[in-house]
Amino acid sequence: MKIAARFYIAAILAFLYLPILVMMAMGFNESPLYELPFSFSTRWYQALAGNAPLVNSGINSIWIAVATSIIATVLGTMASVALSRRTFRGKTLLQLMLLPPIAIPWLITGTAMLVFFFYSGIGRGLHALLIGHVALAIPYVVLVVGTGFQTVRADLEEAAMSLGSTPVHAFFSITLPLLYPSILGAALFAFAVSLDQFVISYFLATPGFSTLPVQIYSAIRKGFTPEINAISTILLVGSMAVIVIFALFAKPGGVSDKR
């Protein structure tokens, strides 16, 4: 049974990484039109080294994604505490209100933001960009952390409190460690949402400031070259290295402990 399960996990990973491997391979393919057969070349990596706008946009994207995922995870987790552990009127409405940012295509939300930020004087720029990125990431965080809350028993917290612990202390010492996998997952999602967010960055960034998705989408008309594959590969391998090192050497969280 275990062997079948592991085989299944391997199959799922193969499916998930198939286009990623293709992406990486095409970064080393000579043809600018992604033509087959494959012919090995490092020309796109050399071109990338000389393409400062693309590299800078990649760096911008990472910073914005880091900031977004921190802010959205903190705010979203707070809201999730209230939605999962408190009883109050209008809760269902508040939960339903998380759907529009996910349901309305980003293109419309982005256009709406552009118009509203313009009318309201918020304007364009880095601040507007962050406001938009965080807002779109928050619902994902609340939903993911909320799922975690449904599996963490409230009575543990109450037990701690009945033993003299304050609610805040009970939360930080009991609930938070148990929620660690959901919060980590939520943060990774928030990071992904921001990293892939094109419309908002496109509409709200000031001329001259650009993020990687904006570079990629704007390049559609001009024709995007395997340089895009090269920088995507570097970003992915880099983040993979950071995370795997972190996962292997950091102090293990509550996730691996039996509850």
Binding site: R86, P105, L212, L236
Partner: protein
């Protein structure tokens, strides 16, 4: 936000020297940052858009502003949109279905067959493809699925005489691309729900002679339900409005509500119609989930 202090007694106030906040105040303090942020960045802009959806033309430039309900009549005036909407719902359904099946078992396999750092690393590996640009991922799929693409290449290297199995520019190709893009959501939410299952329950059940499908249906699936539900929300809702995957992988058949709406915003500059179509779609989505959550609640009560 209507708060009912009487209902908030679940949280016991500890006797201490510090004066604790009343429960409603702390609840509000937890909620205000998130909903304030969402209001500023999403709800107010969307309200503006909602107002636009009652206009005859995009309120930019010097065109006079005229109010109308005609944008919401689009499904009557342009009946072919009903077919498009139906196809979008089907696309959302199949994508969610495949994600649920694949994702539930992947999460189950992670929980039952791995542990510790291996499990943590595997989970992160599942999420990592998300960190590449969506367009680049979809574009890579075109190279896999097209005639003479990587899929054909792989098959021909094993069986040189085989014909092409490339199925780019079909509905199946769109669903493959969407499942790939959204599967990690389902794996994560199911994993979060399943990870707390007590092994002893499963072992006790099987030692009492329960068959594996009984364990699956009576123990594992109900426990995974919260994860399956939030996963489905995170997948079904954005998928029916998606436009990139249908456009690039669907070719001629890649026409969905998402692409129709996108065209209204980019090509046609008809924001009112685009907005009206999105809000109609949102209403349908909310309706589906309202019905569905009622059914679920009754289901779990049994």
């Amino acid at each position: 936000m209507p708060l009912d202090p009487a209902n908030s007694t679940q949280l016991r106030e500890p006797g201490g020297s510090r004066k604790p906040l009343p429960p409603w105040a702390s609840t509000a303090a937890l909620l205000v940052p998130t909903y304030g942020w969402l209001t500023l960045a999403v709800f107010l802009p969307l309200c503006t858009m909602f107002a636009f959806s009652f206009l005859t033309a995009t309120p930019m430039g010097k065109a006079p502003i005229v109010f109308t309900f005609k944008q919401y009549r689009a499904f009557i005036d342009q009946p072919y949109l009903l077919g498009v909407a139906w196809q979008s719902l089907l696309m959302g359904f199949w994508t969610t279905f495949f994600c649920a099946v694949l994702g539930f078992f992947a999460a189950l396999a992670l929980v039952r067959a791995t542990e510790g750092k291996v499990r943590e690393t595997l989970l992160i590996l599942v999420l990592l493809p998300f960190w590449t640009n969506g367009l680049v991922r979809v574009f890579s799929w075109t190279m896999v699925l097209r005639e003479g693409g990587f899929l054909d290449y792989a098959i021909h290297s094993v069986w040189p005489g085989a014909g092409s199995v490339g199925f780019l520019y079909t509905r199946q190709a769109v669903v493959v691309g969407l499942v790939h893009g959204y599967l990690p959501y389902m794996i994560l939410t199911c994993y979060i729900a399943l990870v707390t299952i007590d092994n002893t329950i499963v072992e006790a059940a099987s030692s009492l002679g329960a068959r594996w499908w009984t364990i699956l249906w009576k123990i594992l699936l109900p426990m995974a339900a919260p994860g399956l539900i939030s996963g489905s929300v995170l997948i079904f809702v954005p998928v029916i409005g998606s436009f990139m995957e249908p456009r690039i992988l669907g070719g001629r058949v890649g026409v969905t509500m998402g692409t129709v709406i996108e065209d209204q915003f980019t090509q046609a500059f008809n924001w009112p119609l685009g907005a009206a179509l999105s809000f109609t779609m949102l209403a349908v989505v909310l309706g589906i989930f309202a019905t569905f959550s009622g059914v679920l609640r009754r289901g779990t009560a049994l």
